[in-house]
Symmetry: C2
């Protein structure tokens, strides 16, 4: 039998309501009484029952995090979220979401409906699923999105600046003397993939470098995608002198392909990516990339959600953080 608030009240010689007041730091409890209650709590090793508390307050003190897959990007997100919620006494509930998977949708709808979570942090690429977007839009639950697919909605989000990052990177390559720069895209329905493509194109235009359709290859933001795309590029009659992959995963795949084929990086071929995953600096040569400040992004998004949950007004609900160039060893001057 676990100890309840009644036991504490009995021990402290007061009513359960007074104990409740002490627990919740409510005013109007005399110092002596408070002391007695705290003493009793200590003695009895009492802890309030969350289910009861939740039942009556209609809050769960839990943040749900919607995850599609569990990769590096996601673990970086989780890591930061754990820190923040740890400090704010919120629990974190993991909820997997498989796009276009009916059971998944039903489960999420239940989660929201039953208020098992007070708020939701949505991670990419969950929101590629139109059903999910609709569900979230119509659901009456506080939410914050991390680098969402679609920015037109009214929901709160925090994102990196994909356009600017890609511009910077392309500019960096141009400054190194490259004028045949290949770009490996991600899925065309990912906003970030398109934004990066536009940034790449804008930089080319700015420096008056003609666009070459053959240098833009539709791919996936994965190791395998980058690997395959790079091989296609490198086997072509007029290979590029630099490959800019839209994600680090793809860049690592491209790097692997190049090394497998015996190309020297960066002497014969420059390769760069986007995101600055931990692997980017653990590979040889270190990968030049664009930092995507995921830790900041998650921190801001989670904090935003907590603010919304606590009822405080949030002034800026849509934040885009600037990108930064991270130059390592995988890019270099063009070698004639």
């Amino acid at each position: 039998m676990t100890t309840t608030i009644k036991d504490v009240a009995l021990q402290a010689g007061c009513s359960i309501k007074t104990v409740s007041r002490v627990i919740n730091n409510e005013p109007f409890v005399s110092v002596q009484t408070r002391e007695k209650v705290l003493q009793a709590i200590e003695t009895l090793d009492y802890a309030p029952n969350f289910s009861a508390r939740r039942l009556v307050t209609r809050k769960s003190f839990t943040i749900g995090i919607l995850l599609h897959e569990a990769g590096f990007y996601q673990s970086a997100i989780l890591s930061k979220m754990m820190d923040i919620s740890y400090q704010h006494d919120y629990d974190i509930l993991l909820q997997s979401y498989f796009p276009s998977h009916n059971r998944s949708r039903v489960k999420l709808a239940q989660l929201i409906h039953e208020r098992r979570v007070d708020g939701l942090v949505v991670t990419p690429p969950c929101d590629v699923d139109p059903f999910l977007r609709q569900l979230l839009a119509s659901a009456d639950i506080p939410q914050a999105q991390i680098t969402p697919l679609n920015r037109s909605r009214q929901t709160a989000f925090v994102s990196g600046d994909d356009y600017q990052g890609a511009f910077l990177m392309t500019e960096h390559l141009i400054n190194l003397g490259h004028n045949r720069i290949a770009y490996l895209t991600g899925p065309r329905n990912h906003r970030m993939s398109i934004d990066r493509l536009y940034g790449y194109r804008a930089a080319l235009d700015t420096y008056a470098i003609p666009q070459d359709r053959n240098l833009v290859l539709d791919s996936e933001f994965t190791f395998a995608g980058g690997y395959t795309a790079a091989k296609i590029m490198l086997f072509s009659d007029t290979p590029p002198s630099a490959i800019f992959a839209g994600s680090d995963d793809a860049a690592l795949g491209a790097l692997f392909a190049a090394q497998e084929l015996g190309w020297k990086v960066p002497e014969q071929l420059s390769i760069c990516g986007f995101n600055d995953l931990p692997q980017a600096q653990q590979t040889w040569p270190g990968l030049t990339t664009v930092s995507h400040p995921i830790s900041d992004i998650v921190e801001k998004a989670t904090f935003m959600l907590l603010e919304i949950l606590s009822g405080r007004p949030v002034k800026d609900k849509q934040i885009i953080l600037p990108s930064k160039l991270i130059i390592r060893k995988s890019t270099g001057r063009v070698f004639e």
Copy 2:
């Protein structure tokens, strides 16, 4: 106002208890009544309130997962756990644990005390902390450990075979002609680190290769640890012809160091690791390593926990899964 069981009862023209019976699939409800109730649930879009249900059943239908850090290993664990709990209708609660961090301990104790989770999956390296071990041992809560530090206790666990894996790897190197094989350890208080060291030594003994103390270097199971240790080794007067790192992270660090110093892998130096992380095959040259079947381990551990939770007897509570050699390009014949 959300719909409750009362609304459903009213709509279906029966008592709340009968509705409860239908929800919980209890017997002794006539087909007609069940039908009416289901109809009402459908119409009203009703979902039971978890807090109320938890309060009365004293169960939370939630599995807690204790994590120290959120790295790759951990995200592999989460990924699998999400799958399984998804299928079994359990929620997953993330709980961070920072060893020798007092607040962390208090929070965990509360979590258990308040029964916010029905059971706990403990991931490494949380249990290096003696306080945690004591807390878990004295806590009356079902738990399953993943590759625990200490196997002497009565708790359920699933682990890989570290000794055998290291033996196989060392044997592989010996068969390639190596007789100066360095081994980079992990922390000495990690059982797995020691087990792997013993496996390495046993293989040397089996093939009558003299042990050389200078070839065993105390390190960390991290990229930085492997990097530093490899540099020390490679700068020595009598460098090894092969470096066996006790973890893939360390092996990747060693590989980076070797490449930075201009050593050709595997022509001049063989490098191998342990765990078969995804990066192991995304680096060039691909890393020879020992598979640590983390997915199976987590599946078995989680399943075990669910069995315990459901009250079914678990026959084998301590499982050690065999390791397997994964040969890639980072190891080769000794080059004279």
